[in-house]
């Protein structure tokens, strides 16, 4: 009896099929099952994957650490990739899939460290095509764009921006009239995020389209080297803002572009006016008007604070950070500040605030992604240790921030941190230190070939 006949009888029921001895039927099937299991081999179809032959990568032993970083501890990857690229190294072969996937999700250009195998691999899987010169040509992306869903059209356009920015701007102009407003805004944002130069046509389209945000327009305009014109505008705009308590009015003389800008600001409320003020105004002029604006309109002042973060305005952010430190309040935008400013402010707070409050600022800055300087890292480790007497892991500081500190101390300070941890006789299996050890060890392994001495 064939296997399919047996199966048919068992599915419909051996009673109905008239099988008198179902046990025997099953035992015969067992023989079939066993013989099938030992013969599951067939001939190759000949369509074999052929990677380019390469020599072993001297960094192949880093593969497990790179995989762990790509899957769980991504904060250490930019630092590792920077060192890898600087030393003309390439990613370990065994970690390529995770790294390609991470790079796609972050839109991070890993091409310089892919090597021949990584570049070949990127071309094998459509999810990674943006890193394959063979597949990610502008013509292919533009051809594929029209057949995609809106979400995938955005992805294609992002890839197009990476592959060829000029082609992306040309494509933007072509699809501008046919895409809906939200898609136009999203595509414009992707083009802006890809950086200047912005062709005049893109700027014109954005200014003529009321869906473009004030932020997008200012970003485009600022890149046109017209900063001085914005300074002129703010001089005209600021008195109006003060007089009208946040309401923007037409103010002559304004050319057409400024008029458009003011109308949009008026229609989108005080937060966008604040953004406009910050974006348009040179730092020296803004400082003069800041207090006056705050008195005039608390809404605009609050908007300025939020927008300082959005626009990464270092002077303004530093001003707000120091104000927050003096008042003992919190300041969340540390990572927007240059590292040297952060270090300067934290040292100031450490010296001037009472002991009970001095940890707050240090704790606050540990959430960021920048790496502190070696000098600051060593200073922080020594001061924390001196100040707290280091009573083991059961401190609020390590409880909340060990991971963050492990992330942000300079590579050269890693041995200091490890030494401190070891000298404390802390149990690495302690729940509070479980995440500290893997991360610090991971950084140690990943950076050892480049900047650390064994």
């Amino acid at each position: 009896m064939s296997a399919s006949e047996t199966l048919r009888q068992v599915v419909s029921g051996t009673r109905r099929a008239g099988v008198e001895d179902p046990k025997r039927l099953l035992l015969l099937q067992a023989r079939e099952t066993i013989s099938r299991r030992v013969g599951r081999v067939e001939s190759s179809s000949g369509d074999t994957i052929q990677p380019p032959t390469v020599d072993p990568n001297p960094l192949e032993h880093l593969a497990p650490y790179v995989q762990a970083a790509a899957l769980k501890y991504t904060s250490v990857l930019p630092e590792f990739l920077h060192h890898l690229q600087s030393s003309n190294g390439t990613l370990p072969l065994a970690a390529l899939p995770e790294m390609l996937t991470w790079a796609v999700s972050q839109n991070y250009d890993v091409r310089p460290v892919l090597g021949a195998t990584g570049t070949w691999l990127a071309g094998q899987n459509s999810a990674w095509w943006q890193f394959s010169p063979e597949h990610e040509t502008p013509a292919r992306l533009i051809a594929a764009y029209g057949n995609e869903t809106p979400a995938n059209r955005k992805k294609h356009f992002r890839r197009l921006c990476v592959a060829c920015l000029d082609a992306a701007h040309r494509h933007l102009a072509q699809v501008w009239s046919v895409e809906p407003a939200d898609m136009r805004g999203a595509l414009l944002q992707l083009a802006i995020e890809s950086g200047p130069p912005y062709p005049e046509e893109t700027v014109s389209l954005a200014l003529a389209d009321r869906t473009a945000s004030i932020r997008q327009i200012t970003q485009l305009a600022l890149a046109q080297d017209e900063h001085h014109r914005f300074a002129q505008l703010i001089r005209q705009l600021a008195p109006t803002l003060i007089a009208e308590n946040g309401e923007v009015k037409r103010s002559d003389p304004m050319d057409e572009r400024w008029e458009e800008l003011a109308i949009q600001a008026q229609s989108t409320g005080p937060n966008d006016v604040a953004r406009a003020v910050i974006s348009l105004c040179p730092p020296d002029l803004l400082g003069d008007h800041l207090e006056l604006l705050a008195k005039c309109s608390p809404a605009i002042a609050s908007g300025i604070r939020r927008s300082a973060s959005v626009f990464r305005h270092p002077a303004l952010l530093k001003h707000f950070a120091q104000e927050a430190l003096k008042k003992g309040g919190s300041f969340m935008e540390w990572e927007q500040l240059p590292v040297k400013d952060v270090e300067e402010l934290i040292r100031w707070a450490w010296d001037h605030l009472p002991p009970a409050k001095r940890f707050g600022p240090l704790v606050g800055v540990l959430e960021g992604s920048e790496i502190f300087s070696t000098e600051f890292s060593r200073w922080a480790i020594v001061e924390v240790r001196k100040s707290m007497g280091w009573h083991g892991p059961e401190t609020a500081f390590w409880n909340q921030n060990s991971v963050a500190l492990a992330c942000r101390i300079s590579p050269e300070a890693i041995p200091n941190a490890l030494e401190m941890l070891n000298s404390s006789q802390a149990d690495p299996r302690h729940p509070l230190l479980k995440s500290w050890f893997p991360l610090l060890t991971l950084r140690h392994h990943l950076l050892s070939p480049f900047v650390l001495r064994p």
């Binding site: 068992v10 599915v11 419909s12 035992l27 067992a30 020599d55 072993p56």
Partner: protein, 312 residues
């Protein structure tokens, strides 16, 4: 002629009688399903399998209970489950027959049957002549849940004895495995092989750190030849180790196939990214893939290559 039976304790005699009752109940239950057909509600009702498994535990046959649960799990295995169910059911009925006729088997095969039913042997009771001192390379590992326990199944390869052994560790909740073997490490020590014709399960009796080397790999035909020898000893084998010398890969319709030096291929199941990782490693030349074969699919777990050893 049957081999002389070893003397067994009264407690074991009593338990074997209970197990015999469970075997009879299980056979009746299974044949009832086959007679009514897989389309019937009793065949596709998972609670029916759970109830039978619970009865078998009461009959002191936890190993048999596990086989019944696994048969029930086939119901949720997706398209084509009927054929897989038939395969599993046929092996289950074969096992029930083997238990009934165990007296006709040699002592070693009886031991395998008893262990599969759920009889255990203490580590300390492993005979002295079944203890092997060697350097054991941990080349594969799989961690999975079974009932409320986390199971770590490691495959270790003896450098001098050239044998693959399976080592099982269990843990509850967040407790560590003891010993906690790591893939890509080696141990120098004594491993006791549990009695039986299969001789595949080992217990680590002493261990020291040693230098790891990827175990030797072979062609598909050689691997399947070894698998056939093992299945001949114990047809209910769940998984067996395979160490394949891989010269190429095929990726067809979303499925992966490994190609050996003879141009023969076998389907391989790998975790996400593992197929592409294997493809990248082939840039270095032929690689070794270590995995578990369950008679239907090869599960790729690790790869050895020039310059290292990678978990897939």
């Amino acid at each position: 002629m049957s081999p002389p039976a070893a003397p067994i304790s009264p407690a074991r005699v009593k338990r074997l009688a209970r197990v015999g009752q469970g075997v009879e109940a299980c056979r009746n239950w299974l044949l009832e399903i086959v007679q009514n057909g897989l389309a019937s509600s009793s065949a596709t009702d998972r609670s029916s399998y759970e109830a039978m498994a619970a009865r078998l535990v009461d009959f002191q046959a936890p190993g048999l209970a596990r086989m019944v649960r696994q048969l029930g799990e086939v119901l949720d295995s997706g398209a084509g489950w009927e054929a897989r169910w038939l395969d599993a059911a046929s092996l289950l009925i074969l096992f029930l027959e083997a238990f009934d006729q165990r007296q006709s088997l040699d002592e070693a095969r009886q031991e395998d049957i008893y262990r599969a039913v759920g009889f255990t042997t203490k580590k300390d009771d492993i005979p002295a002549d079944s203890r092997i001192e060697d350097i054991w390379h941990v080349a594969m590992q799989k961690v999975f849940l079974e009932d409320r326990l986390t199971v770590q199944r490691s495959w270790i390869y003896g450098e001098r004895c050239q044998r693959w052994l399976m080592h099982l560790s269990y843990k509850v909740a967040q407790q560590p495995f003891t010993p906690d073997l790591k893939v890509g490490r080696a141990i120098a020590g004594v491993v006791g092989v549990y009695p039986g014709a299969l001789g595949m399960r080992g217990a680590i009796l002493s261990l020291d750190e040693a230098e790891f080397q990827p175990p030797p790999s072979r062609s598909l035909a050689e691997n399947l030849g070894r698998y056939a020898e093992t299945v001949a000893k114990f047809p209910w084998l769940e998984v067996a180790p395979m160490a394949l010398e891989v010269h190429g890969l095929e990726h067809l319709g979303g499925s992966w196939f490994v190609i050996d030096e003879n141009g023969e291929r076998m389907g391989i199941t790998m975790r996400e990214h593992a197929g592409w990782r294997t493809a990248a490693l082939l840039a270095l030349g032929p690689i070794q893939i270590y995995g578990e074969y369950n008679g239907d699919q090869l599960l790729g777990i690790c790869a050895g290559h020039e310059g290292g050893f990678a978990i897939l």
